[in-house]
């Protein structure tokens, strides 16, 4: 089915058609176009990152000052049970939250794009709204909504026959955070996917309709492959975000400190070490380890996809 469709533009055809005659002319503007952004990136991201890596090789003591300590901080992090417990937790979290969010977002983007939903403008606006709520306000909001016994959500759970529900208990805290993150981030993914679908050529869809293809076929066999690069990117972004999970647990910790431990997620471990305890050397080492873990996971995923010939 997909084979019969002529894919438009270079999204499909990899750019290997450089005209040799024009090569020089093709090269310099590219560098000029990317340089402003890359300069800013270098100053605000790369320089501090390099600095952090340098920091991670030092040790600072209240008594004795700073000295070079090689990989000692890395040993401490790698031997920290708390750190690895956090890693395990975010891996589980990511495995649940990312597929759920992207599946929901794809469904909504597809039905909005197909124009088979009434009031789709209203829905798209509503889905986008959770972003506007600042973290502090979200903390107050969720702590009230999720209050054990008194809170409205606990009452709903009780009336549905779940009995006494404590959303902040060790068992439920992670599912609770999944729900909050889905609440917050689905709209973002819908927006990106919807734009991607809107940018697909109409004629292809029209031709498929002429051929009498069903809506399901059009969405799953036609549009899904065409927005696959976007989905791959969203998987990457959501995964990176999920592995760096920080904001939502801190929000819940504001009123339920016992629910969220020092190393609840690796990012919290980094924060509590570098900022909370002022041990920025160890915090930097933990951050480097975390970045390497995320990088390795992403690269692994891309390598598998590349072998399958899917990732460009």
């Amino acid at each position: 089915m997909t084979d019969t469709i002529v894919r438009p533009g270079p999204a499909a055809t990899r750019d290997s058609r450089r005209a040799p005659r024009r090569r020089r002319r093709r090269e310099w503007p590219g560098a000029v176009f990317v340089s402003p952004h890359l300069l800013a990136l270098a100053l605000f991201m790369l320089v501090p990152t390099v600095y952090a890596v340098y920091d991670s090789l030092q040790t600072t003591q209240l008594i004795g000052g700073t000295h070079y300590s090689g990989l000692a901080n890395y040993r401490t992090v790698l031997h920290s049970a708390q750190f690895w417990e956090g890693v395990r937790r975010v891996l589980i979290f990511t495995a649940v939250q990312v597929p759920v969010t992207i599946a929901l977002a794809f469904f909504f983007a597809a039905v909005f794009d197909a124009g088979i939903v009434k009031y789709s403008r209203f829905f798209r606006t509503v889905f986008f709204m959770p972003f506007a709520v600042p973290g502090v306000v979200a903390a107050v909001m969720w702590s009230f909504l999720l209050l054990p016994d008194f809170g409205p959500y606990a009452k709903v759970a009780q009336s549905l026959g779940f009995g006494h529900v404590d959303f902040f208990s060790s068992k439920l805290i992670l599912p609770t955070i999944v729900v909050i993150v889905v609440w917050e981030w689905t709209g973002y993914n819908v927006t990106i996917l919807y734009t991607a679908m809107k940018s697909l050529p109409q004629q292809v869809t029209e031709a498929a309709i002429m051929d009498g293809a069903s809506l399901r076929t059009i969405i799953l066999r036609l549009k899904l492959p065409m927005v696959r690069p976007t989905i791959v990117m969203l998987c990457f972004l959501n995964t990176v975000g999920a592995l760096q999970l920080f904001t939502e647990p801190s929000i819940l910790a504001a009123f339920q400190p016992q629910a969220v431990s020092y190393g609840f997620t690796p990012s919290l471990y980094v924060y509590n070490t570098a900022v909370g305890s002022g041990d920025y050397n160890l915090g930097a080492a933990a951050a480097v380890v975390l970045a390497l873990i995320i990088g390795a996971l992403s690269l692994g995923a891309f390598a598998i996809r590349k072998r399958a010939g899917e990732f460009r």
């Binding site: 209240l62 009123f255 016992q258 305890s277 002022g278």
Partner: protein, 469 residues
């Protein structure tokens, strides 16, 4: 595919693209203009140097005289801006600009970052008592002794003064205090014919009696994960776990006999459900206090004012009483909270800064505002604290009773506490170590043992010599 080319290469059916782009650009420009207007001129668009005297950036440079020496002060507590304004009006040659650089931990992080960068440090900063040694040890505070701030000693509560001096040096000027008292719901106590307990043994008996009469009721709340709350209670109990007197030796003792007795006492009440373990300041805590599920709150002096706005039904029936004691006839309490003003290393105006902090914490003018409606701070300043007019004040939450009398008496009875220079790390780790007590999976005694290990390891890793027990 035949590409149609218009003059701007992209005329798509329906509407020329160019117009749309232009519309978008116009809209963007309009939006930006609106944004700039919305900022109501409050932000200077220029990179402002953080040098003193930078124009118009401080919210409260009010009341300054021309030609005055400019100081930057960081502070977050309510009402400080009003006190600063008063200072500027009454001191023509000094102009203090107050910045709210964030509350507590946020401010300390900024302060230590600025100290590391050797730029952007304020001349004066609000620092809580427990955090002072952490800045002392990095030599970030100016010793105020040469500037005559020591003259203020006679006017300050000993509990406040002892926490700002180290050996012969004075590192800050105390401002307010938070001595503990038992703040109880007199209606509930009367309904169950419970006498106000004067010892911890009587307190436990009262807890039994209340819980037997009403299984839903607990005598009070004990939040294991609130470090400062627990440490103040330990101080009251004579079980304060830290000792420090400058230098590189620090004492950590969470497992001595007094600490173990303390842990077993509270764990016993928690086990019998006679004490709740809700998080301090959480919705659950306020609703427990207002529904009668908590008959009392062990409250710092600044507690009632905040509590008043968060409860409704029981307004008027709360009374303050001295803390229960370990031994009958004793009169000891702990302190939770309170701040100091310290002068920060690197200031070019140490003399003026010292004059400012001395006035701020130790003058009738300043305290008239600090103890007023907006700030609601409890004085460490004796001329006010011991005055009949201050002690006679009433609050709606306490009916016609005079809680300040009890709190002022308590302020004179605060047991000394020596904060160690590792409190930042201690507070960050505390929550995790004690979470099990809230959840009921570990006992307070076990949590103390765990925390003892963690803190000893941490202190050693920071190069300290640790004495245990």
């Amino acid at each position: 595919m035949t590409i149609t080319m218009s003059e701007d290469y992209a005329d798509r059916g329906g509407r020329p693209r160019r117009r749309r782009t232009r519309a978008l650009a116009t809209a963007a420009a309009a939006a930006l203009a609106g944004v700039v207007l919305a900022a109501c001129g409050g932000t200077s668009g220029t990179p402002a140097a953080s040098a003193p005297g930078a124009t118009g950036s401080a919210a409260t440079g009010g009341g300054c005289h021309a030609g005055a020496t400019t100081l930057t002060a960081w502070g977050w507590s309510a009402g400080y801006d009003l006190v600063v304004k008063k200072f500027n009006q009454t001191h023509p040659d000094i102009c203090v600009k107050l910045e709210n650089a964030g509350a507590a931990g946020d401010e300390y992080t900024k302060l230590s970052d600025a100290l590391k960068a050797h730029s952007g440090t304020p001349d004066v900063a609000q620092i809580e008592y427990f955090e002072l040694p952490s800045f002392e040890i990095t030599k970030s505070l100016v010793d105020l002794t040469p500037y005559g701030v020591g003259d203020a000693k006679a006017d300050e509560a000993p509990a406040a003064w002892s926490q700002v001096v180290q050996g012969s040096a004075q590192y800050a000027m105390p401002v307010d205090l938070g001595p503990l008292a038992l703040y109880y719901n007199s209606a509930v106590f009367a309904a169950h014919k419970i006498a106000v307990p004067t010892t911890w043994a009587e307190f436990a008996t009262a807890a039994d009696k209340l819980h037997a009469a009403d299984p839903k009721a607990a005598i009070t709340n004990f939040d294991p994960v609130s470090a400062q709350d627990v440490l103040a209670l330990m101080q009251q109990y004579g079980a304060f776990p830290f000792s420090y007197s400058g230098g590189d030796t620090v004492g950590i003792d969470f497992t001595g006999p007094a600490q173990t007795a303390f842990a077993r006492f509270w764990q016993g009440l928690i086990d019998k459900k006679e004490v709740t373990t809700a998080a301090d300041f959480s919705p659950a805590q306020w609703s427990n206090l207002d529904s009668g599920a908590n008959a009392a709150r062990i409250s710092p002096a600044w507690g009632p004012v905040g509590m008043q706005g968060s409860i409704k039904k029981t307004i008027g029936s709360w009374r303050a009483a001295p803390m229960p004691q370990t031994t009958a006839g004793q009169n000891a309490t702990g302190n939770w909270g309170g701040s100091t003003l310290a002068v920060i290393k690197g200031t070019a105006h140490a003399k003026e800064a010292a004059e400012f902090v001395k006035w701020f914490g130790g003058s009738a003018d300043a305290w008239q505002i600090l103890s007023g409606d907006v700030a609601g701070a409890f004085p460490g300043y004796l001329p006010l604290m011991d005055s009949p007019s201050f002690q006679a004040r009433t609050l709606p939450i306490s009916g016609d009773s005079q809680p300040n009398k009890v709190f002022a008496t308590a302020a004179h009875a605060v047991r000394p506490a020596q904060w160690p220079p590792i409190m930042t790390a201690a507070l960050t780790r505390w929550t995790t170590a004690f979470a099990g007590v809230t959840k009921g999976s570990t006992t307070l005694e076990q949590a103390f043992a765990t925390f003892q290990h963690q803190m000893v390891d941490y202190a050693k890793s920071q190069g300290f010599t640790v004495t245990e027990g």
